[in-house]
Symmetry: C2
């Protein structure tokens, strides 16, 4: 799709990108020549850079400044570099052994918790902001268990477990004169009859049966059975942004922080990236959120078969250490998805 650069242009581009990533300052021909040991003189490099600028890979903040890679430049760099785990991250061994421990099948299983502790470590290792996302209610889930537990005099706690390992809970006040026994009985019946049935099916069935009941019953039943779990998103080390030079402008920083706080926009991005699978890299304005324009988002969806269970991601400045981040995320993608497939009950579409 995109044209290919010749050997010399590529070496100049990649040196420029690497230099900018390392120093956060426009890099000039001299630096590229000296620090990266290119065998061309600064003058030649200047010529190449001028060409690269014309083709849209580099820019110029002002006449007498060095070059800065554009989004296109970063994109080309990312697409044409081959990153490898071993040389990238000195702590890669410790990440691997950490995963060995935490993904041990004998340890307690809670997706959000596992992902959180993993990404907490990754955030610390890479020095970028990590994201863990667990989407909200998904109708593809199947019921594993439904329990009603009386709490105090007039409350009932409903607990609903699905095959995705999700636990939904909700406490409901029973209206005056409500017969607790009846509803508990109904719950038991549901538990027995609807095991392994998709949640959406159960809802349909319940709606049909509820036609016969009175208003008060209906209301309470709705509350007990139809919980929606909100999507859950956790962020680690967002404070890093306050240290980075490209966010020294308070308004830029504020914009990013607001994106992190609202979460809805991020959720949508992750949703979109699920179908893509594998490691996605969105550089700068490649993502649709305005406040996130100065950032790059590297993300990985987690799937059990075709069911989306969650996503993990890393956010940093466009000037990100791609050579570290991408191998780490590739590695995580493999390990985590493997673990999910091995540990969670598989979801064959047979009983749909």
């Amino acid at each position: 799709m995109s044209e290919t650069l010749d050997e010399r242009s590529w070496s100049v581009l990649s040196a420029t990108v690497n230099g900018y990533i390392r120093m956060a300052v426009p890099v000039g021909s001299r630096v590229v020549n000296r620090l990266f040991g290119l065998s061309y003189s600064p003058a030649t490099i200047r010529n190449v850079m001028a060409d690269l600028e014309e083709e849209g890979y580099l820019t110029h903040p002002h006449t007498s400044a060095g070059r800065i890679p554009t989004a296109k430049g970063f994109r080309y760099f990312v697409d044409n570099s081959s990153f490898s785990m071993q040389e990238a991250l000195p702590e890669s061994a410790s990440l691997s052994s950490f995963l060995d421990v935490i993904l041990d099948e004998s340890s307690p299983l809670d997706l959000l918790e596992v992902l959180s502790s993993v990404m907490n470590l990754v955030a610390r290792m890479t020095n970028y902001t990590a994201i863990v996302l667990e989407p909200g209610t998904r109708n593809e889930e199947r019921l594993l268990s439904f329990e009603l537990i009386p709490v105090g005099e007039r409350h009932l706690l409903a607990i609903l477990v699905t095959d995705a390992g999700a636990v939904y809970k909700r406490t409901v006040l029973l209206p005056e004169g409500f017969r607790t026994k009846e509803i508990v009985f109904l719950g038991d019946a549901l538990n027995a009859s609807s095991r392994n049935v998709h949640l959406s099916k159960i809802r349909e069935k319940l709606f049909d049966e509820m036609e016969l009941l009175g208003e008060a019953y209906r209301e309470t039943l709705q509350q007990l059975f139809f919980h929606n779990r909100m999507p859950e998103m956790k962020l680690f080390r967002t404070s890093r942004f306050a240290e980075m030079p490209e966010f020294s402008d308070a308004s830029v920083l504020h914009a990013v922080m607001e994106v992190f706080e609202e979460k809805i926009a991020l959720l949508e991005i992750f949703e979109d990236l699920v179908r893509q699978g594998g490691v996605s890299v969105q550089i700068g304005s490649e993502n649709p959120i305005p406040g996130l324009k100065p950032c790059t988002l590297v993300s990985v969806p987690l799937l059990n078969g075709s069911v989306w269970l969650g996503s993990v991601g890393l956010v940093g400045p466009v000037r990100m250490q791609y050579d570290q981040v991408i191998p780490v995320m590739q590695y995580l993608s493999v390990r985590l998805n493997h673990w999910i497939q091995k540990t969670l009950p598989s979801q064959s579409p047979s009983t749909t």
Copy 2:
């Protein structure tokens, strides 16, 4: 304890504090005279200000600048002002009706969720950062229900409900050759025998009984019964700090953000403030966290009898709109604690 200011000093101090809160800039004698309609001339006010400075209520950034209140000045101001809800916050009516809806006893009950939606609104109304804290496992809790639910082939989901409305859950892999039935039976027995008993008592009892069992059993039982819930802390609108002039210095902002991220330090503060009860105001360096020195924390513990269920708080710059924040938090203290006492099962210390 602290000396009392005469009428005139007080009016100058309070005008200075109010002016500084409003404008975030050192206030001079002229401003105090004009904008606050004091009947003294700027010269007199200067004299008073010089006195107040000597006594430690005000400072001077440099010779020809206006005055800034010290922490002591703010403290005196807060202690000696009488704030009232109605005039303070124009949206107070909407807060009140929001609470009417969300604290309706017929709506589903989940402390963390309720507090979160309330403080989310409060953060938006006051334009400060709001905190909601639910402490971790508390041994004062009593068991309401214990359920074991088989998940898939070899997993067991343990769900433990306490009278504080807390739900603990944990999924455990059963070792090879483990007799599921036996352990479910054990769970049922516990459920029947230990209802309304304090968690700590149950643990002791279980420890005693476990002496008789083999290693594999012990391990699994531990995992099933002894969950610890981590403290849960939620923050709303932390991004506000990026907009405030006193945090335009990136390192100051970063320090605050790190405090918000680590959470442990904040947790300790909230723990300390529980015994104090009611609305606590910690101005500037009155709190022990270095990074939070330029901030004021206003907090309220939530108690069911003598049991600490959670806390809510607001964090802003020392230059905070105390006349808004304090009445709001007082109001919240009353409404939320009242709701908790009415809604949650009361905890009499009889079965201790």
